[in-house]
Amino acid sequence: MKRLLVLAVAMLALGLLLAGCGGEEKKADQVLKIGTMSPLTGPYAADGNDIRQGAEIAVEVFNEAGGIPGFSKIEIVSEDTACDPKQAVAAANKLINEKVAAVVGAYCSSSTIPASETLAEENIIMLTPASTNPKVTERGLPYMFRTCGRDDHQAPAAVKFMQSVEGVKSIFIVDDKTTYSQGLAEGVAAAATAAGINVLEHDHVNQGDKDYSAVLTKVKAANPDLFYISLQNSATGALMVIQAKRMGITAILMGQDAVYHPKLIEIAKADSEGMYCTFGAIDKDAPKFKEFQSKYKALTGNEPGAYSAYSFDSATAYLMAVKAAGTTDPAKVREELLKLDFTGASKQINYQENGDSGSNYTVYKVQDGKFMPYWNSLTGEKY
């Protein structure tokens, strides 16, 4: 008797479930859900929250303009990856369950790569605003797009700058062993060697370290022309800059795109003055950026972070493609995405067949407490 009862309840539950599924098939007032995944907690939370907010602004803009025909509403579903591959895959599965149409993210390349494999099984489009490892778009995944640049363009750009502008003859490189930071540091070492620059040493620190005195003492003893800092995080970058200055290191300091963040200057203050960082060129005087900036400030109370504009453009590109295709069918949206050529807040967005959108690395210099564009890698000229 009891068994029968359990069976009956189970059947009933199953029936309801099926009915629920049937109900959702109806097209009438469909909600368009876009997932974001980025590290919302942990050491990379600063960049991760910027990414979430950037996508939210894009949705806000579309909703204000009346949304997309055929959809009652556009919504953001955010998941935390904590820059951990396992958690990134879990986040991807959660977003699949939430029935998102596309995903903006992730931040760390080591999270983006496994998450994109999971999303690819469900044919969900992923647009990364921040993962620069070449492998992201080199695995032949049809629905993987990248709005930022690539490390194998960033490393040569940095080396070209060192040699042609600063006349650097020797460098000391430090990374923190993440897929991203170490990959980039190795790229810089290889490009520097090829260019005839003497790589004095390529040392590593651990993620989460606060004390860099030991490795900095080595830098001081080696006395390089330039000290290249490849860390995954702007806050630890700031710590390294402060400690380097305190140690009396006089070498030119140079960082990359993960170190590039207003937080670096906020923490390192005067110690960061004169430091260089490579980052994709964003024209902060362009009307498109100004518009984005004022919306961002109004909604979040903050200045846009390093990757906010890329995230905004990724979500915008997707929404534009959906609007043009009139459906969220991934194959049709992909076609529309490849046709896009528009001025975003970060740069001219024009996705290529492999999903990349081109790199435009610029060297920024910290001047009077601000990152100022200093040298353009495409033209090889100073601003």
Binding site: L40, T41, H204, N206, A235, L239, I267
Partner: protein, 300 residues
């Protein structure tokens, strides 16, 4: 030679910080045989309290060193109260339970406090004002910052104070008695609950001081900052002989030095490996730790 001396100075500074945190582990273990994994979070909470107070006080135009002194005292007091509350809430009800239960409670408390910091203070790093921290001098090629001197001085001052408290006062005698035998000391009129709470308070106060020093030295604090130094300081306490105050100092200095020299002479990525190899080696050949005696008469 310059390189060696510079690394030695770096090692002493880092070791001093570890020693200050390790003292809290050692004292709490000495008195109730509990490894208080939430101790690293008192360190982080102290660092945050420090940045809030120093920012506020220096905006009021106070002299930087006055700001530092006031903030140091207030943060230590705050963390002492926090530790007493944690003890009441998470450890006291479990005092008769198995040691594993208290250990799990400590781990839970650590996660709770860390998330509490994240939710109240935000996920971003908070920067310390730099007026106090900048500056230093050089002897030949060796540079010493004022901050390094300050860390060593504060560590030494607090250590002397702690030694006086434990070995020269009635409270200290009560602590040592409770550590030896809770039941017997209660029979002769010592309020062991009060003494245990006091031990937590003193340990957390020292961790808070370390938190401010680290925040000033490195320029910023983060809600995750307690975890790694907490583990290192725990290793330092075990290395020195857990339950032994001098042991915590020696252990802290050794871990700091080993880390710095491994990073300096081998590579930065191996420094943690070497710190823990030393720990395992000591435990293998002298399981009670360097200064440890027989486990039965653990001292506070």
């Amino acid at each position: 030679m310059d390189f060696f001396l510079q690394q030695l100075i770096n090692g002493i500074t880092l070791g001093g910080v570890y020693a200050l945190i390790a003292l809290g582990y050692t004292m709490v273990y000495g008195i109730i045989q509990l490894i208080n994994f939430a101790h690293g979070e008192f360190f982080a909470a102290g660092g945050y309290m420090g940045v809030i107070l120093i920012s506020y006080l220096s905006s009021q135009g106070l002299h930087p060193y006055a700001c530092l002194a006031i903030s140091l005292v207030l943060s230590m007091g705050y963390c002492a109260l926090l530790a007493m509350a944690v003890e009441q809430l998470a450890y006291k009800p479990l005092r008769q339970a198995s040691r594993l239960a208290a250990l799990l409670s400590a781990l839970g408390m650590s996660i709770f406090l860390q998330n509490g910091l994240m939710l109240t203070q935000g996920v971003y790093d908070r920067a310390y004002p730099t007026e106090i921290t900048s500056g230093g001098f050089a002897i030949g090629a060796i540079s010493i910052s004022y901050m390094q001197i300050l860390i060593v001085a504060v560590t030494a001052f607090l250590l002397v104070g702690l030694n006086l408290l434990v070995f020269r006062t009635r409270i200290g005698r009560a602590m040592r008695a409770t550590a030896q035998d809770k039941v017997m000391s209660a029979l002769v009129g010592i309020n062991s609950n009060r003494i245990i709470a006091l031990t937590f308070a003193v340990g957390a106060g020292l961790a808070a001081a370390a938190g401010i020093m680290v925040g000033l030295y490195y320029g910023s604090v983060n809600y995750t900052m307690g975890f790694v130094p907490g583990i290192k300081a725990f290793a330092a306490a075990v290395l020195g002989g857990i339950g032994n105050i001098t042991g915590a100092l020696v252990g802290g200095l050794i871990i700091g030095m080993v880390e710095i020299f491994a990073a300096g002479y081998i590579s930065g990525e191996y420094k943690d490996v070497f710190a823990f190899i030393i720990l395992i080696g000591v435990l293998y050949f002298k399981p009670t730790g360097i200064m440890g005696e027989n486990v039965d008469d653990t001292r506070v």
